[in-house]
């Protein structure tokens, strides 16, 4: 395998992210007090004088705060720039949109690459275990810092949806509307299993060095690359893979087998293989292995019902938040059945909930892609919620 990476990520932060430093730190669920806390974030649009038009967008496992602008690390457009911007479904002419790098991440927010105050060294694999609640608590500190009392909406897909749900559960009075997309109120056994395979791939890399790879000037690029390749399959669907690649074989000069040479098992490469290798190798250039382990573990721990006496309705009882749950028909990582469980719990809690399953054959990643029905759903839900929010403001 030819997964390789430039070592730049092992050298520490190269880019300056917009960051707030909170010396008071954060009390983690595991008992560790993390201080100082740094949260890297991007904002779009203008906060209204009443400070009531803020939308927090929560990113997924390997996303970052570069929501709607060029990502300085990859040079690519923001991961949701087709959704967030002037006149777009999440309209920055009207809303103040905030997106922050999650706690434990590697794009400027406190994480395994940050310096531990006690040791003066980077945390690396000693970074404390975190939960979705910790991730959201860190975001809440940023929202406090920005002077926002109540978020008009919290929106997120996949792990971002877990954060949206956690916001609604932990801070019901601070969330007017919540949109959990392609997500689940708990991480399923199958998803934990996939994460475990990803982690074992990282551990098996000779460059892993028990998580202190940076001390050796190395990164577990092969392991992290394989982890990404495997995970990427779960983000797609059989139909999407068939449509995109089928059984096509690459016939370029680099992989062509000279007629004279002896037959080889891997003399030619299926396009899907080539695609996955590319996904793996580009990922290791931008993501830290310890962050990957920290955040996947936080997802595994996520189970809102278990934390509330086994009843998923409990955290949402008396909730005034308007919910819009969205799933995608071909998403087998976070299938519609899990969204339906969530919707039923929200109904048991008497919450105001909309629920749409978008017809798409593109699997879990559909929430990042062009899906007109999805765009309409987001725009409509936000517009409808805004109408209600204004109505309530008028009553006060």
């Amino acid at each position: 395998m030819d997964i390789s990476a430039s070592p730049s990520i092992a050298d520490g932060p190269v880019y300056t992210h917009q960051t707030v430093r909170l010396d008071s730190g954060l009390d983690l669920e595991c008992g560790v007090h993390l201080a100082p806390l740094e949260v890297a974030y991007c904002t779009y649009g203008t906060l209204s004088p009443a400070r009531d038009n803020a939308i927090l967008v929560c990113h997924a496992l390997t996303g970052d705060q570069y929501l709607a602008e060029r990502n300085p690390l990859t040079g690519k457009p923001g991961w949701w720039s087709r959704m967030v911007g002037p006149g777009l479904p999440i309209d920055t002419d009207r809303y103040f949109v905030v997106c922050s790098n999650v706690l434990g991440g590697c794009m400027g927010t406190t994480g395994p690459r940050s310096i531990c105050a006690e040791t003066g060294k980077a945390w690396d694999s000693e970074f404390p275990p975190i939960t979705m609640h910790d991730i959201v608590a860190a975001q809440a500190k940023l929202i406090d810092h920005l002077g926002i009392d109540r978020l008009f909406a919290v929106i997120g897909g996949s792990m971002g949806g877990m954060q949206a749900l956690t916001w609604a559960a932990d801070f019901p009075d601070r969330v007017f509307a919540a949109m959990p997309i392609a997500t689940s109120p708990f991480h399923s056994a199958q998803n934990i299993a996939f994460n475990e395979v990803s982690r074992q791939a990282i551990f098996a890399d000779p460059d892993w060095h028990d998580g202190h790879y940076r001390d050796f000037g190395a990164i577990p690029a092969r392991g992290l690359g394989v982890a990404r390749m495997m995970a990427h399959i779960t983000y797609l669907s059989e139909e999407a893979l068939s449509r995109k690649f089928g059984r096509r074989v690459r016939h370029d000069a680099a992989t062509a087998v000279p007629a004279s040479s002896s037959p080889s098992l891997f003399g030619e490469m299926f396009e899907v293989e080539s695609y996955l290798r590319h996904q793996g190798s580009s990922f290791v250039r931008r993501f830290d292995a310890n962050s990957y382990l920290t955040i996947t573990r936080a997802m595994d721990y996520f189970d809102l019902a278990a934390e509330h006496d086994g009843d998923l309705a409990n955290p949402f009882r008396k909730s005034q938040t308007r919910f819009c749950v969205v799933s995608f028909s071909s998403d087998w990582l976070f299938p519609t059945s899990q969204s339906r469980l969530l919707v039923r719990a929200l109904n048991r809690a008497g919450a105001n909930v909309s629920f749409v399953e978008i017809e798409s054959d593109r699997g879990h990643d559909a929430f990042l892609l062009e899906e007109p029905d999805f765009d309409r759903t987001i725009r409509g839900f936000i517009t409808g919620a805004a109408e209600h929010a204004a109505l309530k403001a008028g009553e006060r």
């Binding site: 819009c324 919707v343 039923r344 048991r348 839900f381 409808g384």
Partner: protein
């Protein structure tokens, strides 16, 4: 908005909490929200309708009468509405029970199988009747539990529901003149609409 939807809207008090089961394109809940300041929500089985409704900012969830009412707590709503759907659900009696558990009132409309044209067709042709209201052949109709106005009255009696208001309506949804006599309504009313509540409330 259909005439019968307007009749339903007239039964609903302003600012009430309403669940429209089978909300279609969301016309009724939109109307109730805009003109009566109701907290009106919908359940709809057709995903295109759901998407269209949510895209219009309406709180609608994908689901159906048979499976998704049981989740709501008692007395979540002031009114639970079921338009022209009772005959198509799997368990009409259970659906009614759920409606009057989660809502203080139920508003139910259904096509009347006792209409004279149906009776006459069955009598004269010996075949399943086909009319503008009952317009799908027996092998493909979604209407698996047809009933007459009298049948419905009997069920309400058995279940102990109080009929606060009833009216016969014609095919287009306009109110029909058979207000006094159930017998005449059952013969000449193409559809019926009932406003129910639980006994003892």
């Amino acid at each position: 908005m259909r005439v019968d939807q307007r009749l339903i809207a007239e039964m609903i008090a302003p600012r009430a909490r309403v669940l429209d089961v089978g909300s279609g394109d969301g016309t009724l809940i939109d109307y109730l929200y805009r003109t009566r300041s109701c907290d009106a929500r919908g359940i709809e089985i057709d995903m295109q309708n759901v998407t269209q409704s949510v895209a219009h900012g309406l709180p609608v969830m994908h689901g159906d009468a048979d499976h998704d009412l049981a989740d709501y707590p008692d007395d979540t709503f002031d009114y639970v509405v079921l338009q022209r759907t009772l005959q198509a659900v799997e368990r009409p009696r259970e659906v009614l029970r759920q409606m009057l558990r989660i809502g203080r009132h139920a508003i139910v409309s259904f096509p009347n199988f006792g209409h004279w044209r149906l009776r006459l067709q069955l009598l004269t042709t010996g075949r399943m009747p086909m009319t503008p209201v009952w317009n799908t052949p027996w092998y493909s109709t979604p209407n698996i539990h047809p009933c007459t106005i009298r049948d419905f009255l009997l069920l309400c009696e058995e279940e102990g529901y109080v009929i606060q208001q009833w009216l016969a309506i014609d095919e287009d949804g306009a109110r029909a003149p058979w207000r006094r006599s159930i017998r005449l309504a059952n013969l000449f009313g193409e559809q019926a609409m009932f406003l129910l509540k639980r006994a003892g409330h």
